[in-house]
Amino acid sequence: MALVSLRGPLRKLAGGTPQLELEGLTVIELLRGLEARHPEITGWILDERGRVRRHINVYVNGERGVEETPVGGGDRVEVLPAITGGSA
């Protein structure tokens, strides 16, 4: 089980829990599992192509990850809005 942290509206959509334990061998499997457990979050992190949205970053144990990044038991996964998304 990986430990997944969410912030902002994502945390609210996932029931308000600061950290979730999720199963999966890659980032995309974790995020699909998250959508299955909390359907309200569907479309907020992954788009219809199954890609992490352009202005969301996923970190695995503090390092930037992508959809295919492997995830192991006890790994820390953080899903964060990127600083690139906003403008004045």
Partner: protein, 356 residues
């Protein structure tokens, strides 16, 4: 009392007031987020808003109380597993059948709701058009921005896509055909005009409710009128200081009346000569006359976006409202005869809708 819903770069603003006597902000929602469009469905009273978070993608929300909780609508997404993602919802329009609402978005997609905007599904007929791979996006993306129902007939609908042109259906959206005859895209070489897939950059279309076969169009260079339900078009832009612009409105009671807000040109998208003027025709576009009594008349280089112009009422009681990216909103209680400032110092205004 008139209600204005303003979609802005920094949230939704609700204004209420008497036309010609000042408006006040009564609610704000989605603070800090870009609200592309908002509308009140006059049949149910429900408010719908579309917000495109730069982080989390485009969503539609609905509520019965703009100061209260908003619920996210379901089904606002492209089919999963494809090679495209929904970029933005540009417009929402109440349909003719009970509970039906349409939404248009980028990439050239039409959604339909049959329950007043809670659940949505994609229009497969338009989505599966064989020519779709050849559709070219305009500067704002491949946006489906205009939806024109046919009063009293839910099977007939016209939509416009920048730059995939006009599309018409007479069977409730199962099949679609183009409606671009007569349009003259001056930005294309002459040899390319016969190619129907070459860009037809429609900026805005409105149908006359009292004479539904008549439509007006603001094109990317050209103002057009159709008298055959959007099949063919004649250029009626002569007499305007510029035939480039985005917003367009009609008077529901007068099929010969329409309003445009010209901008200088595609390379200079501000009001001409530093003056804000709304041009009106009373003869189907044969002639145009400026209205602007009460609008900024000097040093005013405003940009008015395609969804930032709306009306309420008709005929002698026609009220007109438009907003600019400067954060100013203007209104007329008398069909453009006189104007006043409704609001100022707001975030850039993306859309304006008005209801009684």
């Amino acid at each position: 009392m008139t209600e204005l819903l303003l979609g802005t770069k920094k949230g939704l603003f609700v204004l209420e007031g008497e036309p010609g006597h000042g408006f006040e902000i009564t609610a704000r929602a989605f603070a800090g987020e870009p609200v592309d469009y908002a509308m009140r469905d006059r049949r149910s009273g429900r408010l719908l808003a579309t917000m495109t978070s730069p982080f989390y993608g485009p969503k539609i929300f609905h509520t019965d109380d703009p100061s209260g909780e908003w619920q996210q609508a379901e089904g606002v997404a492209l089919p999963e597993g494809g090679d495209q993602a929904l970029e933005r919802i540009w417009v929402m329009v109440a349909g003719e059948a009970d509970g039906v609402v349409y939404a248009g978005g980028d990439p050239g997609v039409l959604f339909e709701s049959s329950d007043g905007g809670q659940g949505w599904s994609i229009n497969e007929g338009l989505w599966s058009q064989p020519s779709r791979p050849d559709w070219q996006p305009g500067g704002g993306g491949l946006c489906l921005h205009s939806i024109a129902p046919w009063p009293g007939d839910p099977t007939r609908l016209a939509v416009a896509i920048s730059a995939a042109g006009m599309w018409l259906t007479e069977d409730g959206g199962r099949s679609w055909r183009r409606g671009n005859q007569g349009l003259n895209p001056r930005y294309l070489p002459e040899e390319a005009l016969q190619d129907e897939s070459a860009g037809r950059c429609v900026h805005h279309v409105e149908r006359s409710p009292s004479q539904p076969e008549r439509l007006f169009m603001q094109f990317h260079g050209g103002v057009y009128r159709s008298d055959d339900a959007g099949q063919s078009w004649v250029d009626v832009g002569a007499g305007l200081p510029s035939d480039f612009g985005f917003p367009l409105m009609v008077d529901p009671a007068e099929p010969d009346s329409a309003y445009v807000i010209p901008l200088v040109a595609d390379m200079d998208r501000v009001t001409p000569e530093g003056r804000v003027r709304v041009y009106a025709t009373r003869d189907g576009g044969a002639s145009w006359a400026p209205t602007g009594d009460g609008l900024p008349s000097q040093d005013a280089y405003l940009t008015v976006l395609r969804q930032a112009f709306d009306r309420v009422g008709q005929g002698p009681e026609l009220e007109l409202y438009f907003g600019a990216t400067s954060g100013e909103v203007f209104g007329s209680p008398d069909g453009g005869e006189s104007w006043s400032t409704v609001a100022s110092r707001l975030p850039p205004v993306f859309s304006v809708t008005a209801s009684p």
